[in-house]
């Protein structure tokens, strides 16, 4: 009998008679895992992790394994269409790429002429490695308005990272942290950004201690040495409490503080406003546990913080990120092996340069929607969605006439979904590029068929901060689908930007790689390229901040007119900030716990993945369920001041009984009505987007914690 071997590509080829195997780079999340794509008769037939890829080491998540079913899905849009009935009528007619792009180009130029470039808003959803190309077309056009998830997802880590220590610090799993503090993240489920669950698991198997900060008992929390079960939205107070211990017990790295930080004294003063009795009262976490976690984190070296988006979709977004960076920095773990590294990308054209931010005229920058209010976000070309909805619905401060959403489904993913829907119904012209006719696309005038990662050449992880770039190689062609990059390159020529673009996108890839001295064709023969690996870079040149120090006291925020030191702000709705409302809506609703298989609104129609979670689930503590007459499996109505939706009840311990946890991003592609059930279980029907409730610097919408009531859909309980 044959010897059995791991990840044996050569044997797979022989046994299954595949024609070829292509190394590529998955993008079922933000991108990131090396993959092997097996091909037979011109079709991709099997996906596997690439054992040579240093990011995933041959493993792959459920989303990656679902790639083929996504690419070959019978419902995929495979040619451009234009709407021939009213919005959301589901009446579409096939058109050619030329007709589609000419029509979009004509609109862009007409609106620019009549209302100014700022009336044309481009947008994307979660990062799909198309960011730089979308910014490029908008900036050259002269529109300062690119609507992204950047205000409350990853963007804040980049912005606060840059102003605090020069870049976003990334966990150095390669050198095995000995203590990992997971904060508002379920990395083995989500696997997004620079982080995959696999290296995290390996570090734990090597004996790393584990601290988990989460209101819910996740599996990592169940495995943790210390689980800090905080009241939702009090992350800043908890971090300040831990810093209080580290400062007052002198557990910090004294050399680092003395030589490399700015603002130590005012920082200590601020920290001392958060003694543990106050922090316990705010966070509901016992002071002994806070002390235990702070000591464990500060005294185990190296240590790292595995952070997630949950800390950013809050009113304390920027301060949460900064405080966690302070924990990394003061314990001496910044840029330390096995700590949190400020990586260098390979020597290529960077995203900022490729995004042509320098080409946006100053007078157009000044017109950025909400730019005078959310000044940190605006500095990084990020805007707050509500500013766009207001501009459409009320024409203030000027009318927005056109939206072009590429890989975005804001009807489901942005706060106050009903308002989003109204804005999209009203906007004069909307183009969308997507795989499917989503609830957002159903409101568009023209929809363009976007390529999946299997259908494009690209420099994978171009925008990331882990220091790698990996070739994504085109394997198949589906219908007339085109990559976002190719379609925008083509569109750019049609709106008079030809001189700044290329004859085909391969030339753009060549230009990105040019500083490294290689072409796309040479790069695609490689497994990956890594930037220079060097630790403690700040000891030579300082940090890339105005003071060249690690800024505890932010000189940039001070100049912008913000509190230069982090603070705790109560969530806009909470038992503390709105006690009256709390009597009517007596549960704290947290949203957005991740499920494997889905990436926000994606993959709901991919059968292998949807089978993992058939229905939206709301987790309720058994005591609360008993009080409200809710039984396991009941359809439950979750209601806030903004509206109500239904999700299926799961009774679960491992949370405070005052907390209810609902899933996000639900819509129902199997519902053939053009609305596809967008308002049935969509948790953003309940969330608020009032600007006063957003993070003052980043504009992050506070969608993670609000107040709700719950009751069975049918008074007698039972299934409908």
């Amino acid at each position: 009998m044959a010897e059995v071997t791991f990840s044996n590509a050569a044997r797979e080829m022989e046994v299954y008679g595949y024609d070829s195997v292509v190394k590529s780079h998955c993008r079922m999340c933000h991108g990131g895992c090396g993959v092997l794509v097996y091909v037979k008769d011109g079709k991709a037939v099997k996906i596997a992790g690439d054992p040579d890829c240093p990011i995933n080491h041959g493993t792959l998540c459920s989303k990656g394994f679902g790639s083929l079913q996504l690419a070959y899905h019978p419902d995929r849009l495979t040619h451009p269409v234009k709407r021939v009935g009213p919005k959301a009528s589901g009446k579409w007619e096939r058109i050619s790429w030329d007709e589609a792009l000419d029509c979009i180009a004509e609109r862009i130029l007409a609106y620019k002429e009549k209302f100014g470039s700022e009336s044309v808003v481009f947008g994307y959803g979660t990062g799909r490695e198309n960011e730089a190309v979308i910014y490029r077309i908008a900036n050259i056009l002269g529109s300062p308005n690119v609507l992204t998830a950047g205000h409350f997802c990853y963007g804040p880590r980049i912005c606060t990272g840059i102003i605090t220590c020069g870049t976003n610090p990334i966990v150095d799993y390669e050198n095995f942290p000995k203590c990992i503090m997971v904060w508002g993240n379920n990395v083995t489920i989500s696997n997004a950004d620079e982080y995959k669950g696999e290296p995290f698991s390996v570090a734990l198997d090597k004996g790393a201690k584990l601290i988990v900060v989460d209101p819910r008992l996740t599996r990592p929390a169940a495995r943790a040495n210390v689980w800090l079960q905080l009241r939702p939205g009090t992350d800043a107070a908890l971090a300040l409490g831990m810093l209080h211990v580290i400062v007052n017990e002198e557990l910090y790295d004294k050399e680092f503080v003395e030589k490399y930080t700015f603002g130590w004294e005012p920082f200590v003063k601020r920290v001392n406003e958060y003694p543990l009795d106050r922090v316990e009262e705010i966070t509901w976490v016992p002071r002994e546990k806070i002390r235990e976690a702070a000591r464990l984190f500060a005294t185990t070296k190296p240590a790292a913080i595995q952070w997630g988006v949950a800390i950013e979709q809050q009113i304390n977004c920027a301060d949460n990120d900064r405080l966690l960076m302070f924990l990394m920095g003061l314990t001496g773990n910044i840029d330390a092996p096995g700590g949190q590294v400020l990586n260098r990308t390979p020597n290529i054209v960077n995203v900022g340069h490729f995004g042509a931010h320098g080409m946006l005229p100053k007078e157009q920058v000044a017109k950025r929607l909400g730019g005078d209010r959310f000044r940190l976000a605006s500095r990084f070309a990020i805007i707050q969605p509500k500013c766009v909805w207001d501009a459409i619905l009320e024409g203030k401060p000027y009318p927005v006439k056109m939206l072009f959403f590429i890989s975005s489904n804001p009807v489901i993913t942005r706060a106050n979904a009903k308002e989003v829907y109204r804005a999209l119904e009203k906007v004069e012209f909307m183009a969308v590029a997507d795989f499917f006719l989503t609830p957002t696309a159903e409101l568009a005038d023209i929809v363009l068929p976007a390529a999946t990662w299997l259908e494009m050449d690209y420099i994978g992880d171009f925008w990331k901060r882990h220091g790698y770039i990996v070739p994504r190689r085109k394997v198949i062609q589906v219908g007339e689908c085109r990559s976002d990059h190719e379609m925008l390159n083509d569109l750019a020529h049609r709106i008079g930007q030809g001189q700044y673009w290329w004859d085909n996108f391969e030339q753009a890839l060549d230009s990105i790689l040019k500083p490294m001295g290689i072409t796309w064709n040479e790069f695609k023969e490689l497994n990956y390229v890594r930037g220079e690996v060097k630790y403690y870079k700040y000891k030579e040149g300082g940090f890339s901040t105005p003071t060249r120090k690690f800024e505890l006291y932010s000189t940039i925020l001070e100049k912008m007119g913000y509190d230069p030191l982090p603070q705790h702000r109560e969530p806009p709705e909470s038992p503390v900030s709105t006690p009256g409302l709390y009597t009517e809506y007596p549960y704290i609703l947290i949203t957005g716990a991740r499920s494997p298989g889905f990436f926000h609104t994606e993959n709901m129609q991919v059968r292998w993945l949807r089978e993992l979670h058939g229905e939206p689930i709301v987790e309720i503590h058994p005591d609360a369920a008993a009080k409200e007459g809710i039984k396991e499996g009941d359809w439950v109505i979750i209601e806030s001041r903004r509206g109500k939706v239904r999700q299926r009840a799961k009774l679960a311990l491992g949370r405070d009984s005052r907390i209810v946890a609902a899933q996000h991003a639900w819509w129902f592609p199997e519902n053939r009505d053009p609305g596809h059930g967008w308002d049935e279980s969509n948790i953003n029907i309940l969330t608020d987007n009032a600007l006063e409730g957003c993070d003052p610097a980043m504009g992050a919408s506070n969608i993670r914690t609000l107040l709700c009531r719950i009751y069975p859909e049918k008074k007698e309980g039972g299934r409908p």
Binding site: I189, L217, A222, P596
Partner: protein, 182 residues
């Protein structure tokens, strides 16, 4: 004869469901609506386990028992145990009487309504016989908790891992599958 066992250390399972999806990819063409599923991952808790609040993921798949109750229950000898330990259910021979489904103590056998026969994980013997790992065990797992090979070797590896993880986990419910091996 080399022994072939599939052992899942549930303590280290994160519920990422990569194994479940890899299994589907192996057995179901992308277009086929009627899919078979040999393996499933489900959450257990959070609830009290051994007096402690805990939450584990459970992987439900045939354990290829040493003395399989399903073999004894099958009246037509559709289930056999190979010399290497793999228990194979032959869907062609199966008459659909469902006695094996009742007999299995792990609820690891399903019923295929279309073929009117029982089905279960045959440990990808078509791959194993060709020198390939079973689809779920071929280095897909984000927690590296799926082991395939000689059961004695596997248990050694798991024990080494537990030691490295440190003593504090000794009091913790391990949730590790232990095969009913004699």
């Amino acid at each position: 004869m080399k022994k072939h066992a599939l052992i899942i250390e549930e303590y280290a399972c994160w519920g990422c469901m990569a194994c479940e999806t890899a299994c589907k990819q192996e057995y179901n063409p992308v277009h086929v609506a009627h899919a078979v599923k040999y393996l499933s991952v489900r959450g257990d808790g959070p609830k009290l386990m051994n007096g402690k609040l805990d939450f584990l993921w459970r992987v439900n798949v045939c354990k290829h028992c040493d003395e399989p109750a399903c073999i004894k229950a099958c009246p037509v000898e559709a289930i056999t145990k190979r010399e290497d330990g793999i228990v194979v259910l032959d869907q062609e021979k199966c008459t659909g009487c469902r006695l094996c489904i009742e007999a299995c103590p792990y609820q690891a056998i399903g019923f295929d309504d279309e073929k009117q026969s029982a089905f279960k994980c045959n440990l990808c013997y078509h791959r194993v016989d060709q020198g390939l790992y079973p689809a779920c065990a071929d280095n897909v797992c984000l927690g590296h908790c799926i082991y395939f090979g000689d059961p004695t070797e596997i248990e050694k590896k798991i024990l080494e891992k537990r030691k490295r993880r440190g003593g504090w986990r000794e009091n913790h419910p391990q949730g590790t599958e232990v095969r009913d091996r004699k």
